[in-house]
Symmetry: C2
Subunit: 160 residues, 2 copies
Amino acid sequence: MYEEEFEQAVVQEDDKFLQDPIIRQMVIQLRAMDGYGTYDTWSDARVLDPLILTKARRKAIPVIGDPDETVISRIKAFYNAISQLIERETGLLVVPVINITHEGFGRVLIVVGKLVAFDKILRDVHRFGFDSLEVLAGDAQKIVQKAAALVNEHRVVAEL
Amino acid sequence: MYEEEFEQAVVQEDDKFLQDPIIRQMVIQLRAMDGYGTYDTWSDARVLDPLILTKARRKAIPVIGDPDETVISRIKAFYNAISQLIERETGLLVVPVINITHEGFGRVLIVVGKLVAFDKILRDVHRFGFDSLEVLAGDAQKIVQKAAALVNEHRVVAEL
C-alpha cells in the first residue's frame, strides 16, 4: 500500500470536489470493497487521498511493479463509479468488465446491452492515480459523457 | 490434467470432424498455447481428446473444483477459434475477452468494434467439455453464425 509512504495528505477535508457526484460515487465504491473495514474510521478525503499522485508521490513509486489488491480495488472503484453514472445518464443497465493481469496490464470494457460504450487498455496499473480530485472528476466525467453519447447514438444495440 | 485419468481415447484418428474448419482452428489454438511442447508428438485426435467428456469421464471429475491452466487454455482455444471464424465470416477484427476466476467462474465477451457479438457467463469451468467432436463443432458453429448475424445486423457499430 503506497499510502504508508505518503506522510502528508494532499486531499484537504474541505476540497469542494468531495461533493462532486462522481467523487461521491467513488467513495461509495471504495468503501464497498473495503472488506477489512480499514476505511471505517477514515474521512472521505483520507479514503481518496492515495488516488492523488503528485509529482513527488509519482517519483516514489517504482517504474516497474506488480499491482496489489489495493490499487486494483481503486481501479475497479473508478470504473464502477463511471458505470453507475452512465446508468443514471442513460437509464440502462451498465456492466463494467475489468481484467487485470498480475503483471499490471489490463483491459476495461464498459458494456451496455450489446454495445461497448467504453474500452481501454490499461498499463502501469500500479501507478494508477490523478493529479488532483478535480482532474479525477474531470477525467471520469469525460468518459461518462462520451459513453452516454455513444449509447444514445446506438440505442438499439444498447437495449439488446 | 484430467487426461491422465482417461485410459482410453474417445476421439478416433479417423474421426471425420477432425477436418471441420472449427476443429482444425481449435487444434491450431491449442498447439499455439502449448508452451512446454507437450503436444509436439501428439496427433490432432490426441490433443482434442481431453475435451470430449463422455458420461463416464464426467463422472470421474469432481462436481466442485478449481480449474487448472490446461482447462483454461482449452476454453481460450475454443473461444479464440470461434473468434477466428467470426473474422472470416465478417471480414472484421474480432477480439475475445475471457475472464476466469480461480474459483472457476468466468465471463466471455467476443467484441467486434463496439459490438458485443457474443457473451456468456461461464460456470463449472473445470468440467468444460463436449459429448463428441461433432457436438463441439456444432456448438461452435452455432455461436459463429449467431455472432456473425448480429454483426451484419449492426454493422455500423461493429465497424466503430
